[in-house]
């Protein structure tokens, strides 16, 4: 077959070309490397941690050993995704070397992988950034070496066809090549990497969500996240600093498609190493981080509170997950920031109806097919829409929010709760002999979600059961 032999002959030609280059390079390196350089095992860290700064004043041979894995993990609450990773995490392990180091790279593809993988390190000067020498079948391992010639912060990623999909599934990370003289010391360093996920189903739609190629092609992700999942840098996972400290973020963008307008709400970057290179800029509000690129940002935190990391392409932050938090603790400095100086009621005429909860076009939660599922899905609705006021065990807050656990008001007439949710509730009510006079705003939920959350409430914290069906909610809506 004609075409086959053409392919074969090309293969032979390039094979010859390439092996010549590689063997020449190996000779040059190995003489140098093995004779003189001390050998060091690289410290690898998962985001947001960064390996410690390098205190060597001489080059070394740094051995990096990284596994590629394919595993199911959490993308958002209730949402799972099959991630392809470097080192078992998204983003992949942070690698830190020094300018002039000889890096001996081992890529190990786990035996239970289905795909071959490789690695293209943007810090490598050479064919494919290492991709061609690190192409590794499942259950195999490859090795190559390179000298870190250029200092800076570089993205690495898998470059196996179809490249977009390997990146979209999570195969990227950062490698820092410290300049010989190092970077100026700071108090804290963190690793933050933005990327997008394209899934079948909308943002927040529960279950194991497969990759959606059409969305990827039209560059319209459901998720834009920091450090691999919604909330990876929030709540208990927030990063931390003390007032007066200097913070350095090593920021990367894995893409695969979007460029990030990286911003920290309430901070000004004192120093930005633009695109992770030598160019230094000062007093920057937002810095552009290209897909497959990076930036290093330094700032001093002056006042306590929460600082929010966002992609200032702001819908990504509020609707797609691109949010992170730095908790700054310490004493207030009212000269730098006063805090709130006045708060009062502002009621323009024709005040709109108060509504809280999921926007009406938010994806519906999945349809429950059993009471157990209603309770499970309902628990998620509760966490998002009710917990803030009625508290985690339904105990309420004395004087403000009535309890839902053991509440006679609710349990004597569970269906009345449908009205409470859909219409809101205000004015004096009595719950377990205590009078409340607050305002519960109407909650914007689908019939399914109302049925689920009330069924959850009726079956939690010692409440004695019962089910609210979707039909009950629909019937109420009809009746009003």
């Amino acid at each position: 077959m004609g075409s086959v032999s053409v392919r074969e002959c090309r293969f032979t030609k390039k094979r010859l070309f390439c092996s010549a280059v590689i063997s020449a390079a190996l000779v040059a390196f190995s003489a140098f490397a093995d004779a003189e350089l001390p050998v060091i095992e690289a410290v690898l860290t998962a985001a947001p941690q960064v390996p410690p700064p390098i205190d060597r004043d001489h080059p070394a041979k740094v051995v990096v050993s990284l596994d590629t894995t394919e595993q199911v993990g959490r993308l958002a609450d209730g949402v799972e995704y099959v991630f392809w990773t470097f080192g078992g995490t998204v983003p992949g392990s942070f690698i830190r070397v020094r300018e002039g180091d000889l890096v001996e790279f081992h890529l190990n593809n786990r035996p239970d992988s289905k795909m071959p993988h490789n690695i293209d390190l943007h810090a490598v000067t050479g064919p494919g950034g290492g991709a061609t020498s690190s192409f590794t079948a499942p259950g195999h391992t490859t090795q190559f070496s390179f000298t870190a010639l250029n200092p800076g912060l570089y993205v690495y990623h898998c470059a196996t066809a179809p490249v977009g999909m390997h990146i979209a599934n999570g195969m990227y990370g950062l490698i820092l090549v410290e300049p010989e003289e190092g970077y100026p010391p700071v108090d804290r360093e963190y690793y933050v990497m933005q990327s997008e996920f394209y899934t079948k189903g909308k943002f927040g739609e529960e279950g194991l969500r497969p990759f959606d190629m059409d969305e990827a092609l039209s560059e319209n992700p459901d998720y834009v996240v920091f450090n691999g999942s919604v909330g990876a840098l929030q709540g208990d996972n927030s990063i931390h600093a003390e007032v007066g400290e200097t913070v350095r973020l090593y920021v990367g963008n894995g893409g695969p498609n979007l460029v990030s307008s990286f911003h920290v709400i309430g901070e000004i970057f004192d120093t930005v190493y633009v695109e992770g290179g030598d160019l230094v800029n000062h007093n920057v509000q937002s810095t552009l981080v290209p897909a497959g690129g990076s930036a290093i940002v330094d700032f001093k935190v002056e006042v306590p509170g929460k600082l929010h990391l966002v992609d200032h392409s702001i819908f990504r932050a509020f609707n797609k997950g691109a949010l992170g938090t730095i908790n700054v603790s310490g004493d207030a400095n009212t000269v730098v920031y006063s805090g709130q100086q006045y708060e009062g009621i502002y009621l323009p005429e024709g005040q709109a109806e108060q509504l809280v909860g999921d926007a009406h076009d938010a994806p519906a939660s999945p349809t429950a097919t059993s009471k157990e599922e209603r309770i499970l899905f309902g628990s998620r609705v509760y966490e998002r829409n009710c917990l803030a006021c009625h508290q985690s065990q339904g105990q309420g807050l004395p004087g403000a929010f009535p309890p839902l656990a053991g509440a006679d008001y609710l349990l004597n007439d569970p269906k009345h709760a449908i009205a409470v949710l859909l219409e809101g509730l205000s004015g004096e009510i009595e719950v377990n002999g205590v009078t409340y006079n607050g305002v519960m705003p109407a909650v914007r939920l689908t019939d399914e979600q109302v049925a689920n959350v009330l069924t959850y409430v009726l079956n939690s914290w010692g409440n004695d059961g019962g089910v609210i069906e979707v039909a009950d909610v629909a019937a109420y809506r009809e009746s009003r």
Binding site: K114, A137, T160, A161, F211
Partner: protein, 245 residues
Amino acid sequence: MQQGMVRIEAGGYTPLFRDEGGPPFIAVDAFLLDQYPVTNGEFARFVASEQRWAPQNIKPVFADSNYLAQWREVAPQGLEGIENQPVTNVSWFAARAYCDWRGKRLPNVDEWEYVAMASEEAPTVGDDPDFQARVLQWYSTPAITRLPDVQDTWRNYWGVHGLHGVVWELVNDFNTALVSGESRADSELENSLFCGAGAAAAVDPSDYAAFMRYAFRSSYGARSSISSMGFRCASDVPGAKGVNP
């Protein structure tokens, strides 16, 4: 016709990568293909008769140390539970030897890709996005530890079972797509496999499933034994123009 084989009528397909001046469409002669992937049980009978292919005897040049690794996990004297599952962790050398022993051969890339285009109802799906999505979804699910019995797998138009969604399958000329060390500028094939820029060389850059098969085939060597890779055999149809070298 040998038992357990089905006849694939002559036809052809458009390969993912086309050489300049090469045919846009590759003709494939009629041939016979195993209905099912080769199972552990069948491969065990081969090994029993051809001892040099047994895991304890095989020469390292013919297979790496993963060779038949799944046999180590089951009782040494039986293949209980995995007998009817596709055999995996076989090298290209071993697969060829098996087919040879059965009086058959491995299919070549063109034959395999041609049959892979068939849906349940038609010999060629065309650009049915649903079909592509189904195949892609299997490729992007982590390897499952328990493989199905071959009889329980999906059957396509030709009566071939489990071509997608079970294991990767070895082909005779896998190394025509081999990519091992190369500068990007030098070959469109690597360009397409290793960086987005070269996708222009592919006939259908949206056929991610085909990209993955090509990439997979270029990632292994003739000794490689991989837990998600098996094979089936083919043979020529007497009288049809020979396609096998």
